[in-house]
Symmetry: C2
């Protein structure tokens, strides 16, 4: 069977996500309706109609306050603010769907593993195993300030914290409750067999968690694990823990290079390369004809806000573009305490510096990477070409006019991809992990499965 | 108009809450279905049909491990374990209701104020202003161990932490965003007016939070505030912050005494006594006839588990009843680091000690306080009598066979209370706070409103 595209809607429970300035478009609804359950319920139904595998919720825990030295530009254009907690729309969306899954971002830098484990166990129970956790270590300096720190923990240490956070999570989610701990036998009067529930007694460098976990084993136990780091530490972390990774790059071939790199690293850790699915972004402007699509793209450019794009870039890289001269050169990776790598998306060659002027020009238009623009057939052609050449398993589909663009994609592009056999006509049964990998729990070679079972010596 | 009863269902997203052993009853469904959205959606519809004002979710962050020195008794009988995070059923229940409100417990001892403020802003947006926060400082020693502490913070310090937690919360929820900060004007291109969003710059003893808040003002801004402390510190805290308080006591008159005490304390803080509503528990066993109700109560007693009750008592008071002799006397308030006061429910006179044997006997039957048992008319009579004599504003209705008992109450008792004018026939419009007090935001005299507005000098 032809390999089929895994499709996710890339979203955020905010007035605006990455479609900077597009809230001004007369047909955009999200900035007004993101606060209402009805909006998300309607979206869930649309995505399930379009056989989307999942909706992926990004998240941040502060404001973008680097560009120009404060958060004014970010507020003015609504750069990921105002923003709600993404996890709470999931139960309402799950209630009206059967197959759509939900990936939600949680930072290991500002959350407690015990809270987080209970949150994901709960969501996994309520959705019948349709949740995924996008593991991030957070990049906004303002987020650190919101959680009692004067400045951010350094990049490498953030990954050490994340590693221990995962270790605690595995102990709670995988090891604390044996599969048959819940008996519910009215004859013997035993609801839970106390011999099958174990304290985890974790005492580490960053966390101390006694346990036991309080939630019983959920369909997937550990949610499907996503990770998006592109730094050296980030890719190493992904190779050990992640089941789905995000890979960015200037060309399909470069993306393929990164995918192979992560899969090779995973193999070096004893995992199967097939237990990692790779995703990249997909930017589409589609309409009934090429002419209409180009006209739609003109509208997108018309409403685009370069200032908002720079505000987001500032918060996510630490570079304040307002404080550099045009001809100054910036390196792809900013080697600071923050150690961000977002600038990698901007250049074909990660080792080559670029000028501030080049970046400014990049942000004057609506995407850092190529946008696929055209008629439904043209768009399907380009998606197919990109899919084959890059070797990705799936896409995170962005949108400019929300939710209209998702609607158009479902109506115009999905049927063609289905016709070509590149996209499913029906969902597979089971949990999200079963749909992706055919088994409900983490693979046997995953590090979460390597620990000695608690209480079983 | 006659004062009307405010009615809440007392619940927990756990296999069992306080109906110890009743999961064994053949008609009990909760222990099997609490993990499913369908269960909570059905319950939401039932409660709105019965014109319940709210569902109140208790919560704990650990296991009951004092009785017998470990958590075995608690696990065996499912004493508030297995347990999910209560907040996540709210959006799905809100989506199928219009008026039912949702009170959810969050501990100020183990949560971060920034996370918590965003959580409640989100829930308040998604429910159109139908959320309340039950503020607790937590009593389980195991919870402390799950959040990196070897033992619990002492009782009085927990309240100092709670005070500062509330201060930060008010700054984020009330002061950070001015009411008209969100402009959404495509003409000027301004989504949020940056001059009307303020950093809170909180630097205190326990928390340091820079802000600004990331969520825009929700219908109620601050959720309706509940508090249940009965200790000296707890009542003082309630008098300052709470809009709804829980009061326990052996007789209606004793409950009335506590209510008057808290209202007097609130007045001393410059608040109106009318801005505090008092609740107590309501235990009911009702059936079509008195005979059937007594038979139903026999079933409740048959399935009751004294061991489970002792396990819960152990965790919430610190007293391990397995380690005392029958004739030993325990004082109502245990003056330990934990400083719990649950034992107050057990005696008519708070200053009088009671023997371990007396407590053991108390736990051999299904309630610490009187259960109202009888035909619908008999139950309505007793509720009316209790309501008038105690001066409470409302009840937290418990249930033994779940959700059957709530069903029976809605079918059998609600119509009679409505007929007598003691209970509403229709909901009032608006947010939860508007339904309770006629205004959407905290009252002007509430301490949250006394702070100098940020950025406005």
């Amino acid at each position: 069977m032809t390999k089929q595209i895994i499709l996710q809607a890339f979203d955020m429970t905010a007035a605006n996500h990455n479609a900077h300035g597009l809230w001004k478009h007369p047909e955009n609804r999200r900035h007004r309706e993101y606060k209402s359950l009805d909006y998300w319920i309607e979206l869930a139904r649309l995505l399930e109609k379009g056989k989307f595998d999942a909706i992926f919720f990004a998240d941040v825990l502060g404001v973008y306050d680097v560009y120009g030295g404060d958060e004014k530009a970010a507020l003015r254009d609504g750069v990921q603010v105002p923003l709600n907690d993404p996890a709470f729309v999931i139960p309402a969306m799950a209630a009206v769907t059967k197959h759509l899954s939900f990936a939600v971002t949680v930072s290991t830098s500002y959350e407690q593993p015990f809270h987080n484990a209970r949150k994901f166990s709960t969501l996994d129970h309520l959705t019948n195993g349709r949740v995924a956790w996008n593991i991030v270590t957070s990049y906004l300096p303002n987020a650190a300030q919101n959680f009692g720190m004067d400045k951010m923990v350094k990049h490498d240490e953030r990954y050490r914290i994340a590693d221990e956070f995962l270790e605690v999570s595995y102990k709670l989610l995988e090891d604390s409750w044996e599969e048959d701990a819940v008996i519910s036998d009215p004859e013997t009067g035993v609801l839970v067999d106390p011999e099958k529930v174990h304290r985890i007694k974790h005492k580490g460098t960053y966390f101390s968690v006694e346990g036991p976990h309080v939630s019983e084993p959920s369909p997937q136990r550990t949610p499907v694990l996503y990770q998006a780091g592109t730094s050296e530490k980030g890719r190493d972390f992904a190779a050990r823990h992640a089941e789905c990774v995000f890979v960015g790059g200037p060309t399909p071939e470069k993306i393929n290079y990164y995918i192979e790199d992560i899969k090779a690293r995973a193999e070096a850790y004893g995992r199967s390369r097939d237990e990692i699915k790779a995703f990249t972004f997909l930017h589409v402007v589609v309409a009934e004809t090429e002419e209409k699509a180009l006209a739609k793209y003109d509208e997108v450019k018309h409403y685009w806000s370069a200032d908002a794009a720079k505000a987001q870039y500032g918060g996510s890289t630490g570079y304040d573009l307002a404080s550099y001269e045009n001809e100054e050169e910036l390196f792809t990776y900013k080697h600071t305490e923050q150690g961000q790598s977002r600038a990698a998306y901007l250049t074909k060659d990660a080792a080559k510096p670029f000028t501030v002027k080049e970046i400014q020009e990049k942000f004057s238009q609506p995407a850092e990477m190529d946008i696929i623009i055209g008629s439904p057939e043209q768009v399907a052609d380009k998606i197919e070409d990109f899919f084959v050449r890059s070797g990705v398993d799936g896409f995170n589909l962005t949108h400019y006019i929300t939710p209209k663009d998702l609607h158009d994609f479902v109506e115009l592009v999905v049927p063609i991809l289905q016709e070509r056999g590149l996209y499913k006509k029906d969902y597979a049964d089971g949990t999200f992990r079963e749909k992706l990998y055919g088994h409900p729990h983490l693979a046997a070679a995953h590090p979460a499965k390597q620990g000695k079972r608690l209480g079983q010596n």
